[in-house]
């Protein structure tokens, strides 16, 4: 179990990491990066699966089902869209 201070430390270090990663990103990458981080929080899928997996009773199951479906949409959609956007960087670089 991640408790108390340990949780705070993880939270603090992850926050610093996120801030540092973005540091000096050029404007043309703002939208792809927003899209990429949008994909990363698609990890909520893992939590939604656990919630549904431990759900009992129809109400919990319905809410859990909605959660998993939404989370899967976040992860898959986020990936597809980001990949398509970043694809453009390859084409403009490779054409000699």
């Amino acid at each position: 179990m991640i408790e108390g201070m340990t949780a705070l430390y993880i939270f603090m270090l992850a926050a610093v990491a996120g801030y540092e990663i973005i540091g000096r990103v050029p404007v043309i990458l703002h939208t792809p990066l927003m899209s990429g981080s949008n994909f990363v929080h698609g990890i909520v899928l893992v939590g939604a699966m656990v919630a549904l997996g431990q759900a009992s009773g129809p109400l919990e199951q319905v809410v859990g089902f909605i959660g998993v479906a939404l989370a899967a949409g976040n992860a898959v959609g986020g990936y597809v869209v980001t990949e398509r956007m970043l694809e453009m960087f390859k084409s403009s670089k490779g054409s000699k």
């Binding site: 991640i2 949780a7 993880i10 939270f11 610093v16 996120g18 990663i21 973005i22 000096r24 990103v25 050029p26 404007v27 043309i28 703002h30 939208t31 792809p32 990066l33 927003m34 990429g36 981080s37 949008n38 994909f39 990363v40 929080h41 990890i43 909520v44 899928l45 893992v46 939590g47 699966m49 919630a51 549904l52 431990q54 759900a55 919990e60 199951q61 809410v63 859990g64 089902f65 909605i66 959660g67 998993v68 479906a69 939404l70 989370a71 899967a72 949409g73 992860a75 959609g77 986020g78 990936y79 869209v81 990949e83 970043l86 960087f89 084409s91 403009s92 670089k93 054409s95 000699k96």
Partner: protein, 455 residues
Amino acid sequence: MHNIIQISYFIAAFLFILGLKRMSSPVTARNGIVWAGIGMLVATLITFFEPGMQNYLLMTTAIFVGGVAAFWSGKKVAMTDMPQMIALYNGMGGGAAGAIAAVELLKGEFHSQTFLTLAVLGALIGSVSFSGSLVAFAKLQGLLRRPMRFPGQLLFNTAVFLVAIALGAMLIIQGEFTGGIILMFFAAALAYGMFMALPIGGADMPVVISLFNALTGLAVAFEGFVLNNAAMIIAGTVVGSAGTLLTQLMAKAMNRSLGNVLFSSFGSSDAAGADSVQGSMKPIDAVDAGVMMAFAERVIIIPGYGMAVAQAQHKVHELMELLLARGVDVKFAIHPVAGRMPGHMNVLLAEANVPYDRLYDLDEINPAFPQTDVALVIGANDVVNPSARTNPDSPIYGMPILNADQAKNVIVIKRGQGKGFSGVENALFYGDNTRMLYGDGQAMIGELIEAVKDL
């Protein structure tokens, strides 16, 4: 098995951070998303092996339904419609965080008051992000045309927010979860997200979407604490902080503050003066401008007399060589009155070894602007002022101009914010696709060269 699961989450968290890091540079961006994708796959697959899980059929069906719908829509959407799709997928993530919290609240088995508080906070933030993102999506998709504003809106929104907080506090303090209060809590949180996004104008939406993106990350992190899932905590927190910074950067690139974007819309009117120029000048720094040009396919450079004054033509030539070496198609657009006499500019450029076949005159180059990624204006002003084409009241109306405003992006290198030779306000500088690079021509081109070299 427990250890394998924990290690898998650890690897996933690491791959997310690595992926995001690589996505923040144009050179490595493409495989950044692949790394993050592998992380997601690992985390998702291993979750099927979590102990004590049921409802596998429901789970796979839900993943299939959500995944296929998102895959299909994500592949189909046009590049111009990307922002609203990000809003939509982000909203789904926020909704999922809310749903996790709802299931946990319905079960009502919390280890401590702290976990309960985090669950409620995550639910609040996730729900706000969910409904707010959906409104943002609807606006950009053209389903909601006008910003919705009414008197006392700020007060009303604050009231809705306070109601949501109060209901959340009731859940935490009472520790007794009757369906009614849970339902009212979610309803209030969803309503607040909606009312928060409704008054914001379409142009500011990317900033707002980025803010909701950060909020979803935070909600995911909070629910991660509740579920004791390290991958969720780390990925969510990283996105929360990176997203916050990104939101600030985007607001800055638009020359707005975040508070301005969120609250200034109250009470502003859309009156358009006959000869006033709309919008604001948006600055850019040399690094961003350099990267933008290095990754463009077609660049048109528009030199004006200001370039010659700054003695920047040799530097411009160097920049052209660098861009050509990267496979960028570089052309020069020469306005008939560029320089001090016809042909002056051609000479100046030829002197700097710019090949003649790269120089195009007005009639040759104008049809090419709409297919141009970046138009770089150096020391030219009136010759690129679209008012000459569009505004019959302008003193320079009817003058033939270079249609730089039709390029996808325009970068203007300029000493300050003053007006042109004719004293006419230049509508190009206020365009949505225009960024101002303030400074001496020679020094700025030098910085652009450094920026391109550094890639």
